[in-house]
Structures are given as C-alpha cells and as structure tokens.
C-alpha cells in the first residue's frame, strides 16, 4: 500500500530539483539530506506551497498535483498538516486559538473530545491561555504540532521541527513525536539533517543530495548500505539493528537485547521484555579479534565471518561481518586502520569476533517513556552532530 507517490521536477531560483519516490502507508518517512539538498523544496511541494514545474504527486491515491492535467490542489484543500521549523504560531492569538485555527475540518461533534485528547497527548493543558511570545521554544513547537494535528490531516509534514531547539528541548519534543506514531496513526514525513533523529524515528527513508533522490526505502536497509556513506556521513556510519529486550541485569543495570547474531548487553534503565528497540552501532566503536579474547572488559562479543573488506581513500577500511547464525541479518560494520587489517589478514570468509564495548552503547538518556522504538548507541540524541 502506497501513501505518497512523488515524481516531480522544480526550479527554485537556479536550483534544479527532481524527486521520484514512493512511501509506505504507515509510519514515519524521514527525508534526510544536508542543507541545500532540497528537503524544504520537497515538502513545500507536498504541502502545495510550491508549485513544481512538472510531474505528479498523489496522496492515498488522490492526485494533488499533475502538470499534464493541470491539477494543483491549493494547500487549504490538501489536508496536509505542516509543522514548521520555526513553529509559526500566530502571534495575535492565544495557544488555544492557535490550536483551534484549523479545527473547522473536524466534525463538530468530535471537536471537543479531539481537542482534549490532543492537548493531553502533547501535555499543553497549562499553556492554553498564553500567547506564543510567552511560550518557550519547546512549548511553541508542541502547540504547533497540536495545531497541525487538529486540522485533521491525512499526512503530517514536519520540517526539522527540532533544529532550532537546544539539546534539552529536543529531548522534550522527541517522545511526543514517537507518541504521534504510536497513538495517532497519522503518517508523517519528517525532514531532518540530524542522524540521531533519523535513527530514532525513521521507518522509511528518502535520501536527498544536490536536489536529487539518491535512494529511498526501508530505513534499516538504507542505513546499512556502505555505498550511501557519502550521503549519510562517514563519521556516523555504522550498523542499524533492530532487536527485542530479553532481560535485565538488576545488579549491574544492564539491559539484555536480542539482536540477529546474538545478545548484546548495554547500560540502561529497565524496559519490559519484548520491547522493540533500535540500536545504532557506530563502525568506529567496533573492534575485531581473530580469537575470543579472555580477561577483557568488553562485554559484547559477536562472532561472524568477514563478508567484505572495503578500503576508501583514507588509511582506514570498512569491514562487513555476517553474524554466524543469521546470514540474512544486516552485516555488522567495523572500521579499523589498514594496518590492523593487514596484521589480522582480514579477507572475505575469515572467521572474526566483533568486540563492542557496552558503554559505547550507552542508552540515550532522553529516550522517552513510550519506547516502542528507542534509539540507543553513539548517535544518540544528546550526541547530535550536525553534518559539516
């Protein structure tokens, strides 16, 4: 089932943009790319605020734009909610009036309960009488999310909603975005250039560079593709794993996480068994050994077989390791110096042991209470790194 089918070309000034992709019917589709890659052009076209030069956009099978038949549904009739980076609350209205601005689309009978529900979901009960200038950045962004939700959107666009906030405010908003996915069932297109947010939120991914779609598909697949390093950022490159909580070591405060190829132990607060968790292991945090080392502080040792040794222009190599018992799982990536690769004689087929320090997997402290898909690891939200 396809939610969005996009195939458009646009010119913004001298910037040529073209995009062609589809997204699945549910969940969060992240649009990732550096500044100037065309992210905002893309979602403005989805919202109807920008008219592409040619092409077609369909949402849920309904044509929103088609240059051939001359269809360009104006933004007010698209039912596409838009959360802007700068919130854009109406300064002359209270938070309550802002929230209700687009609520005319809701059936009158539902309006009251829906309003109370959204206000509760976002925790903004105490802010309703205030004006936007009396709200903090994070509070403004929550009201802006509520305002978009209450306009009964078929699709919610979020344009770097956290980019103008400090780390603490980011941590304040993220759990609410996760709640949207879990409880509201409104599909979301989430634009960001922060890898931590992508790891944590994205179900599927559209990668943009220089005005083109480089790749699109399931987030876990794309994040593990070595050839996309230039777009995703080589420093953050690593393996994105999905696993389930499989126990908790109370005495040492360690979570047990079952992933393809073994069980990882990582520090953190207890989570219910079976909770789905997403984990990013940065390639630079993985060491390799030919034999299982004894008397080591490293808690996590995954055994596997080298699939590929990929050198790039630097004096470092990327090593892809297939987990022993789970050849279908995404290969684990390790980044080591070419000297180490030589000394170990790394080559495809060689049996190796990947060593991952548990503290490198330290739990994202901002991970919310509603964790259906929490992010862990070194690309955690408190560790966000802007791409240069």
């Amino acid at each position: 089932m396809t939610l969005l089918a996009v195939d458009i070309r646009a010119n913004v000034g001298t910037f040529a943009f073209d995009a062609r992709f589809t997204t699945p019917a549910a969940g969060i589709t992240a649009v990732f790319g550096r500044s100037g890659s065309g992210k905002t052009t893309l979602i403005n076209a989805l919202a109807g605020l920008l008219r592409p030069k040619s092409g077609r956009i369909a949402l849920d099978g309904v044509t929103l734009f088609d240059s051939e038949t001359g269809i360009h549904v104006p933004p007010e009739r698209r039912r596409v909610g838009y959360v802007f980076q700068d919130a854009r609350l109406f300064p002359h209205l209270t938070a309550r009036s802002n929230l209700l601005y687009g609520a005319g689309r809701l059936p009158p009978a539902d309006r009251r309960t829906r309003f109370d529900h959204v206000v509760g979901l976002l925790g903004i009960e105490s802010l309703l009488q205030r004006r936007p200038r009396q709200l903090s950045g994070g509070e403004r962004q929550r009201v802006a999310i509520g305002r978009a939700l209450l306009s009964a959107p078929r699709l919610l666009l979020m344009d770097e909603p956290l980019a103008s906030l400090d780390a603490e405010r980011k941590a304040e908003i993220l759990p609410y975005v996760e709640r949207l996915r879990a409880e509201e069932h409104v599909p979301i297109v989430y634009v960001s250039h922060a890898m931590g947010e992508i790891v944590r939120l994205a179900d599927s991914l559209v990668l943009l560079a220089d005005g083109h779609v480089v790749a699109s598909g399931a987030a876990v697949d794309l994040m593990n593709r070595v050839d996309l390093d230039p777009v995703l950022g080589a420093f953050e490159a690593g393996t994105l794993l999905e696993g389930r909580i499989d126990g908790y070591d109370d005495a040492h405060g360690l979570l047990h996480l079952k992933v393809p190829g073994g069980t990882l132990r990582l520090p953190g607060r207890p989570l219910a068994n079976g909770t789905r968790v997403r984990l990013k292991i940065r390639a630079r945090d993985v060491a390799l050994a030919l034999a299982v080392p004894r008397d080591t502080s490293v808690l996590n040792i995954l055994s596997g077989r080298v699939r590929e040794v990929a050198a790039d222009q630097s004096s470092q190599v990327n090593v892809l390791i297939e987990p022993l018992d789970a050849p279908e799982a995404p290969p684990l990536r390790a980044r080591v110096t070419s000297l180490s690769a030589e000394q170990l004689g790394l080559r495809p087929g060689l049996a190796v042991h990947a060593l991952i320090k548990a503290v490198a997997l330290d739990r994202d402290p901002s991970a919310g209470r509603h964790g259906s898909a929490l992010a862990f690891g070194t690309a955690a939200i408190d560790d966000l790194r802007e791409e240069p």
């Binding site: 919202a47 109807g48 605020l49 104006p74 933004p75 007010e76 009739r77 698209r78 039912r79 596409v80 909610g81 838009y82 802007f84 700068d86 854009r88 109406f90 300064p91 002359h92 601005y101 687009g102 005319g104 689309r105 004006r131 936007p132 200038r133 305002r147 978009a148 306009s151």
Partner: protein, 230 residues
C-alpha cells in the same frame, strides 16, 4: 479668552469633519494599493508606485489645480459626478476632504506597506496549510497583524489633513463655514489688518489639536500592540 468664537469653533469642527472623511475615503484604496505594491508583481508596478508618491513631491497647489481640472463642474469626472449623482466637489467641504485624502494618500500607503512587509509571509502559508482560504487568511491573519500599520497610517493621514492648505485652497477655495478649515482660517487672519491676535489663537488651536491626535494614536497603538502580542 478660553472660549472659542463662532468662527473659531466653525473652523475647528469643519477641520475635524474634513480630516475624518479624508481618512475614511482614503483608507480602503490605500490598503488595496499597499497590498498590491507589497505582495504582487505586475508590469507597471514602478509607475503605480510613482503616481502614489506624487502628492509627496509635487507642489500642493499643482495637485489642487489637477483636482479642479478633473473634478470641477467642467472636468471629466466632475461633470459625470454631477450628471449621474448631482454631486459637486469643487468649492464644497466634500471636495476639501477629497483634496486632503489625495495629499495624505502616500503617507497612509507607506505606513501600511511597511507593516505588510514586516509580516512573516510564512504565517500566511501556515494558515493555508490549516485549511484557510486566501480570504480567511487575509481576514484572520494579515489584517490583524497589519492593524498597527493601518492605525498609524490613519493617524498620519488625519494629521496631514489638519494641516492641508495648498491643494485645498486651490481646489475648493476659502469659503467660511464650507471650506475654511483651521489652516485656511489662520491664513485669512494673517491677511487681515490687526488679525495677529486671531492668527495666534488659530495657531495655538492647531498645536493643541495636533498634540491630541498624536497622544490618541500612541494610546491606540499601545493597545493594539498588547493585543497582537508583538
């Protein structure tokens, strides 16, 4: 000493009436023109901008003469107005209001336009994604946010009208009780032998009126600013 003579109160009331009407007829077109200049691109935009600013740079007497030529009983528009509606502008207080409106027009347009330019158009875009038509955006977002500019423009136009002399005396002459506003009465007093004392009173009256207008505008502006929260 403190009470006004019939001639003085006549001039004062007439001035206020002319100023009020000049703002009333000037404001709607000024809003439209300001919006066109601030928000649209069309061929001839520079020319429209130039024409709007004419009253600022031309001698007021020339504007008054132009009005007489157009709106006089024999002018193209004046003749039509008389034939169709029986309305005469030349040598009437209504004509004085038109003269004031024309002279104040660029000030009102500039003020509203500055205010429009200061509005984040992103707010209007946000309103449309929330389902508001262009008209609703104009009524619920643009107009409330531009209100301080409209108010400031109205006050400027009002004050400009209280001081209007050249275009008025050329277009509608200086008829006591009909077109003799405060500045014209002051001028007449100066022209009269032994009229110095009377002229001084008219001058003081003008100053008091101007200060009252400025204070009123400041109070209004404060209230509006509080309401729209900027």
């Amino acid at each position: 000493m403190w009470s006004l003579s019939p001639a003085e109160s006549e001039a004062l009331v007439l001035s206020l009436r002319v100023a009020t009407w000049s703002v009333a007829i000037g404001l709607p077109p000024a809003m439209a023109v300001a919006w066109l200049l601030a928000r649209t691109q069309f061929p001839g935009r520079v020319i429209v901008d130039g024409i709007v600013h004419m009253p600022l740079v031309l001698p007021p007497v020339a504007i008054g003469y132009g009005l007489l030529a157009l709106f006089g009983r024999n002018g193209i528009i004046g003749a039509w107005l008389y034939d169709a509606f029986g309305v005469t502008l030349a040598f009437t207080w209504q004509g004085a209001a038109v003269a004031s409106a024309v002279m104040g027009f660029p000030l009102i347009v500039r003020s509203i336009r500055l205010s429009l330019d200061a509005i984040d158009t992103g707010l209007e875009a946000a309103a449309r994604t929330l389902g508001a038509s262009r008209l609703r955006v104009l009524a619920t977002i643009t107009l409330p946010l531009v209100l301080p500019g409209i108010l400031a423009g109205a006050v400027l136009g009002f004050a400009r009208s209280l001081g209007e002399f050249g275009a008025t005396i050329t277009f509608v002459s200086n008829i006591p009780g009909e077109t003799r506003t405060l500045p014209l009465a002051l001028y007449s007093a100066v022209q009269t032998p032994d009229g110095q004392a009377l002229a001084l009173r008219f001058a003081v009256l003008s100053v008091v009126l101007a200060i009252a207008a400025l204070i009123t505008s400041e109070l209004l502006a404060r209230r509006v600013r509080r309401r729209i929260g900027s």
